[in-house]
Amino acid sequence: MKFLKYLLVGIFFGIVLVKSEAVSWYRIYEMFKFQSFHMYGIIGSSVSLGVLFIWLIKKLGVKSIKGEKIKTVPKEKGLTRNLLGGAIFGLGWALAGTCPGPMFVLVGTGVFSMLIVIAAAILGTFIYGVLKNKLPH
């Protein structure tokens, strides 16, 4: 039962991603063409509120469901990995029109060819893991 709450959060997340049209290939294309505010509005409002609430959580020392003080996990540093890895991700994001959340949501909407994208993404992750020590970070 401890997983039920995660299932419910996931269901809500999937619904929001479809209803926001953030899962749409067209919306990603439109975003990279700077032809609509829609995606910038979604990401911008989400991040702005995120900054505010995470600041408040830390300031007020809010505790998690387990009673521990909430800590955020720092991201790994490295100009090469973030810029180059990010650019490789961006190429795929704009081609597939989907990132690692929406690709699963889209399977639920009935786009089963997305399973090929997911399989290829798992392969890409695997190849990164194998090559990790040889890549500049």
């Binding site: 996931g10 290939w25 990279f32 509005g41 979604i42 998690s64 991700f89 990132c99 893991g129």
Partner: protein, 187 residues
């Protein structure tokens, strides 16, 4: 109910994504979907080939459950919470896509020119999906996160690595959209 069935505007959707992140933080977790791709590698036995995949993946099962929920959420959203209205794309976007040979842009969530089985079962269509997926999977792990982990969670935490990664996302995305897509989809 009509408001629920119609597409949701950005000022509703964006804050709701923040809410998802905050709930996961309250549960003592993080927000990041691409970690699941790594977890799936580990479950599949990738630890035999690289130490990168030798970790306690069972501690990350909760995130797979989130993704399972997201699949169900996608199903529920199209089956019960949609009125079938087309995507309200900008006129310029529709024009640009028609030039590239896309029929009726925005009439469905995804273009059939990329995702229909007719296209996917051809060599070019299959290559597009495999290359796209591979770049997403490889790039996201190299960068240490994707749109959720870096752009939403990382930026919300004022993480400099995330800002650099998001700049990278846009460099790649702009190159693909402006220079490579027109080469792939020439009429």
């Amino acid at each position: 109910m009509e408001l629920v069935l119609a597409p949701w505007p950005w000022y509703i959707s964006g804050p709701l994504i923040t809410l998802v992140m905050l709930i996961l933080i309250y549960f003592g977790k993080t927000f990041g979907m691409s970690s699941n791709l790594k977890t799936l590698c580990s479950i599949g036995g990738a630890g035999k080939y690289a130490d990168f995949f030798k970790y306690d993946w069972k501690a990350h099962r909760w995130n797979l459950v989130v993704v399972l929920g997201a699949i169900i959420g996608g199903f529920l959203a199209v089956q019960f919470l949609s009125d079938g209205s087309p995507i309200n794309l900008s006129g310029n976007t529709i024009e640009d896509l028609e030039i590239l040979g896309f029929q009726d842009p925005g009439n469905a969530l995804l273009p059939s020119e990329i995702f229909s089985w007719d296209v996917v079962l051809g060599i070019k269509g299959m290559a597009v999906l495999i290359i796209a997926g591979f770049l997403v999977g490889f790039g996201t792990r190299y960068a240490g996160g994707c749109t959720s982990g870096h752009a939403i969670y990382g930026l919300s935490n004022l993480q400099k690595p995330s800002l650099i990664a998001v700049v990278g996302f846009f460099i790649g995305g702009l190159i693909m959209t402006h220079f490579i897509l027109p080469l792939i989809f020439t009429v």
